[in-house]
Amino acid sequence: MPVRRQKLLLLYAEDSGFNSAIIAWTQIDGTCNERHRSGDSEVSPYASVYDAICDGWRLIQMPEQLPRFPGAERETAYLPFEFVLEQLVEMEGT
């Protein structure tokens, strides 16, 4: 009986634009066919979020555009422009 599994793609862009360059990426394969980790690639799987959407990835979260906290306007922290995309894959159940 087929089952569905989720694949996640986290793309971190240089700003909030959908066509902007990707500066970081994380891949999670819920089918367990591929195991990704830190340092396993030097090139993003996609050049932009738009390219990923065109390749069938479904956007489920985009970065909020919030003003910086008062007093922390000049701080940097996490990579701020995180786009979360998913694919649902059908595979044979066990």
Binding site: L10, Y12, A13, E14, D15, S20, A21, I22, I23, A24, W25, T26, Q27, R35, H36, R37, S38, G39, D40, S41, E42, S44, R74, E75, T76, A77, Y78, L79, P80, F81
Partner: protein, 276 residues
């Protein structure tokens, strides 16, 4: 503590310190002699996973005094000169860790799937990236090719205030510490880094020593090139991942450089002068 002539002679240049400020680390490739590396590796094997070198707060000069391996490495003029340049005379030992990553290390032995290591910053609760920053000394006693792993670092990430960053896998500009035997790398305490799996048949050794300054960290290095015209370009380095926040990263580098040089007027493209 008296600064030795050799130690003073091997102080870093202003350009080297500027690279440390911009990149968050400084590499001293292959500076440790092979005979010291051999003894050091044996000492690391014997005391793994962590030996007691001294107590937290001890003067670095008292650590491993009898050792012809790890102690000899710390006493090398190039190493002590670099530490003098960043931390001042008589730096403080906090702790050390010996990492030995066996062949296949970084994998789950149960199913050979990747565990790898997560991106992190060691001193995420430290609120002093400028004054009283600490230096993490990494020492590798043998050659490390890419397939052996090495520590992966993200140049320029040392000012970012993060608690944990485990969800990141790959970041543009990341660099694995592929290096020749006898390499010493000095990290700013905030630098993002992660271990990589060892895919060779040989164990990988890494020593980490955490060091604090004892006094003010001002103009401790060889300042004869303090007005070199290339310093601005070095401090303004774009590492490829800063994106829209590069200007803010510059502000942090300016703050640290102002602190190190006791020059409150220094700036990069007026980012701090204009925007405060």
């Amino acid at each position: 503590m008296t600064i030795g002539v050799e130690q003073a002679t091997h102080r870093l240049s202003s350009k080297a310190v500027a690279r440390f400020v911009a990149d968050g680390y400084l590499r001293l490739d292959g500076i440790v002699p092979s005979e010291v590396n051999a003894v050091a590796a044996e000492e690391m094997r014997r005391s793994a996973p962590a030996g007691v070198a001294s107590y937290a707060g001890a003067p670095l000069a008292s650590v491993w005094e009898e050792s012809q391996g790890l102690g000899a490495m710390l006493r090398l003029p190039q190493v002590s000169g670099a530490l003098l340049s960043l931390l001042g005379a008589d730096p403080v030992y906090d702790y050390h860790v010996v990492h030995i990553i066996e062949p296949g290390g970084g994998y789950s032995a149960a199913d050979l799937s990747f565990i790898g290591h997560k991106w992190h910053s060691d001193a995420y609760c430290d609120l002093h990236p400028y004054e009283r920053f600490q230096v993490n000394l990494f020492y590798i006693p043998h050659d490390v090719p890419r397939e052996m792993g090495g520590t992966m670092i993200l140049p320029g990430s040392h000012f970012r205030k993060v608690d944990e960053i485990a969800r990141y896998q790959n970041i543009r500009g990341q660099a694995a510490l592929v290096c020749p035997a006898g390499t010493v790398v000095l990290f700013h305490h905030g630098l993002w880094h992660c271990a990589q799996p060892n895919l060779t048949e040989r164990p990988r050794y890494l020593l980490k020593v955490v060091l604090f300054p004892r006094g003010h960290q001002e103009l401790l290095w060889d300042t004869s090139d303090l007005h070199d015209p290339d310093l601005g370009a070095i401090l303004g380095q774009n590492h490829g991942w800063e994106g829209n926040e590069l200007g803010i990263e510059w502000m942090h580098r300016v703050k640290l450089w102002r602190h190190l040089t006791a020059n409150p007027d220094f700036d990069l493209s007026s980012v701090c002068t204009r925007y405060g």
